[in-house]
Amino acid sequence: MPGLDEVSDIKSDGLRTAARHPVPKGEPILEMRALQKKYGAVEALKPASITFLSGEVHAIVGENGAGKSTLIKLLTGVIRRTSGEIYWCGKPVQLDNPQEAIARGINAVHQEVVLCPHLSVAANMFLGDEINSAGLMRKRAMTEAAQSVLDDLGFNLPAAATLGSLTIGQQQLVATARAAMRGTQFLIFDEPTAYLTRQESAQLFRLIRRLQGEGVTIVYISHRMEEVFELADRVSVLRDGTHVGTRKIGETNDAELITLMINRTIEQIYHKEHFQAGETILETRGLSGPGFEDVSLTVRAGEIVGLYGLIGAGRSEFALGLYGRHAATAGEVYWQGRKVNIANERKAMDLGIALAPESRRDQGLCLNLPIGLNINLPIFSRLTRGLTINRLKEIENADRQIRDLKIKTPSRRVLASAMSGGNQQKIVIGKWLSHGAKLFIFDEPTVGVDVGTKAEIYRLFARLLENGAGIILISSYLPEVYELSDRLHVFRRGRLVASHDYRAASHEEVLTQAIGV
């Protein structure tokens, strides 16, 4: 078994000094040779050969389900390959368990932070590698060491704070700092900016460049083209489990990458159709609640009302308040001209409001239940005849949504957790298409969703508008709300601070209003 003896050497050295295998910059540090992964008959990754060069930032792009997560799991030892070989520093290695990957200096920062929210930042950074003396943890020493690492990286974060009290973006930075201080040679980022604000993204990018400067090889997985072009030296494209090409960043462009990824051109993504705005569906007057204050806006049939702002600006709270999740503290809501009191979620649904919430994982889906049950969840009372559910109708509706929305699954019985981000979003949408609504609130509908699915979702918006519905679109991704909204409202610190008609203001203007400088 090649490579195994080497592992034991590494382990005996301890973690932090581990894996300092000097590979000159620009030489291959990790090579995949015809690496393949099958789950039963399904080929999640077709034999792929990609070479990662020491000290480069290597971006990997591809739609959801293209095989990116499979690739990460293979390289971090989370799953075992079906065939093919991995060469690390020129020698074939097993990489069939996470400990081996970590011992060699291969680490990953995941999109969803996998740390302990109840422990302090410092405790998380030292988790599994605590500073001990005489068998007792030296808490203060760890806090001080963690603080100096954080300060050194330029993060303005307190090491003594509880991790859970930080924003998701800040937690992501902690996860990165944790990986950075463990002698990492090869660091994989899986969509790190999905939940980050611009400032946080900028901090992260500085950190990535700095790590690169220290000779660390970075694999950067993202849906955001502008990030790929800002950071990467080379980019590899995956499509349907196939490695379709690797380019030097200087020798390619958006258009080529997107064509490689989805076989579709960029113009086809932002799909905006203008409809004659109809009657007013919803009007709020000075609505206030937990996290938002004095919001007045209207939504008419056939129009998209965009809400832009930084994370925490109160847009999602406004949506939840409107939906009856939290009681409003002041202000009025008018539904089709009639004053209403939306006391709970059921009331909102009965009026005709649908909410695709911000977090699919925490609010949108029952992940360990089948797709079909998720899709039918809002309409079981409608599917019930007498005491029992009409099974035929239940199956028919689930299958129809899966077919219409092109959810990539062999069956409605597959668990929602097994789906990629884009497909999960489609399940959430399918739920509300089943139920039907007059006003659809989409909160961050395309976070963690690939370009192809994004385009499908935007086209679906047009279909809803055409049928006389109105849409509230909440997004932290400016191009999205900017290109799609008939009217764009900017939120800052819980208040609506500015409103613009379609493309009436520039990107810079909107951004300035959102940040408030």
């Binding site: 789950y39 029952c366 360990n368 969840l377 005491l387 559910i389 069956s411 019985r413």
Partner: protein, 325 residues
């Protein structure tokens, strides 16, 4: 839960197929045990012993079904054993006070409903963890029962009531018929009605269920009321069987019920479970006890065997789930 959601790999397991398959392997295990005991002893396959076995398993089975509803919502009901003891006192006390039998039965079941509603109230309104609120009733219900009886037992003189548990119908003990009486509506409720779906949804992600218009509070009330009512029903059966009301009866039955449920494939993390699973689990446990008695195995060993069995079955269940992923 977190382990479930972190692994979002491909190659998922169609849930329904797995549930049926698991039911079949459990049934296979039960039949295998019966076959084995039939070969090892002369007395196992006697009508007397089979009736005895069915009676022994019946009460745990009913408790386990109620318990399963609660566990599916990612909760736990530790009080069911105490509820059994308490309600046996209630029915004995009512009968001793000259209350007509059918009214005594209805009132006793109503106590079950009340206890379940109290649990749900504690969870939903007071924000107490299910473990805590049901632990509190576990001890206090026994206390109240002992206060009522002043520490002694109340004997039941109503013969119609006490004869019921000894009676047979179509050659099958009436206690076992009670399992069927509970299991069929339970199956319809959990697997065929929307309320069953809501139990799973609340257990999987209560926030997502709420935002999809599911009345989460009502669902939790439903689960705990059903569990306590099943327990009160078992209290009636037990009182009928032993002919007394005694608050210290059914000690540890809550653990038997939880064990049966878990052996039957229910996940303590919620959102996974069935009605047939806990039934099979209860009768597997009953068979082991029965078999151990027939084989003259020390009763201390029975406890150990039961513990080992729980580990083995649940371990294999998890292996299989992981393999299917």
């Amino acid at each position: 839960m977190s382990a479930e959601t972190v692994e979002s790999g491909t190659g998922p397991a169609p849930r329904k197929g797995v549930s049926i398959l698991f039911g079949l392997t459990l049934l296979g295990l039960l039949l295998f045990l019966w076959l084995l005991l039939g070969l090892a002893t002369n007395s196992f396959w006697t009508p007397n012993n089979i009736s005895n076995l069915l009676r022994q398993g019946a009460m745990t089975a009913i408790l386990a079904v109620g318990q399963t509803f609660v566990i599916i919502t990612a909760g736990i009901d530790l009080s069911v054993g105490a509820v059994v003891g308490f309600t046996s006192v209630i029915v004995a006390w009512l009968l001793a006070a000259g209350v007509p039998l059918w009214i005594a039965i209805i009132l006793t079941l109503a106590f079950g409903v009340l206890i379940g509603a109290f649990h749900a109230f504690g969870i939903v309104r007071m924000g107490l963890p299910p473990f805590i609120i049901t632990l509190a009733t576990l001890t206090s219900l026994r206390g109240i029962g002992l206060l009522i009886t002043n520490g002694s037992t109340i004997s039941i003189t109503n013969e119609a009531f006490t004869n019921f548990s000894r009676a047979d119908f179509l050659g099958v003990p009436s206690l076992f018929w009670m399992v069927i009486v509970v299991a069929i509506p339970a199956y319809v409720f959990l697997h065929l009605s929307r309320f069953g779906r809501y139990l799973f949804a609340v257990g999987s992600n209560s926030e997502a269920a709420r935002l999809s218009g599911v009345n989460v509070h009502r669902t939790i009330y439903l689960a705990y009321i059903l569990s306590s009512t099943c327990a009160a029903f078992v209290g009636l059966l037990l009182a009928s069987r032993i002919g007394i009301g005694n608050a210290t009866q059914a000690e540890g039955w809550e653990l038997q019920a939880i064990a049966s449920s878990v052996i039957g494939g229910t996940s303590l993390f919620g959102a996974v479970g069935s009605v047939h699973g806990p039934l099979l689990g209860a009768f597997i446990l009953a068979t082991i006890n029965n078999g151990a008695n027939l084989l003259n195995v020390n009763s201390f060993w029975q406890r150990i065997i039961t513990g080992v069995l729980i580990i083995v079955i649940v371990y294999f269940d998890q292996l299989r789930r992981r393999g299917a992923r």
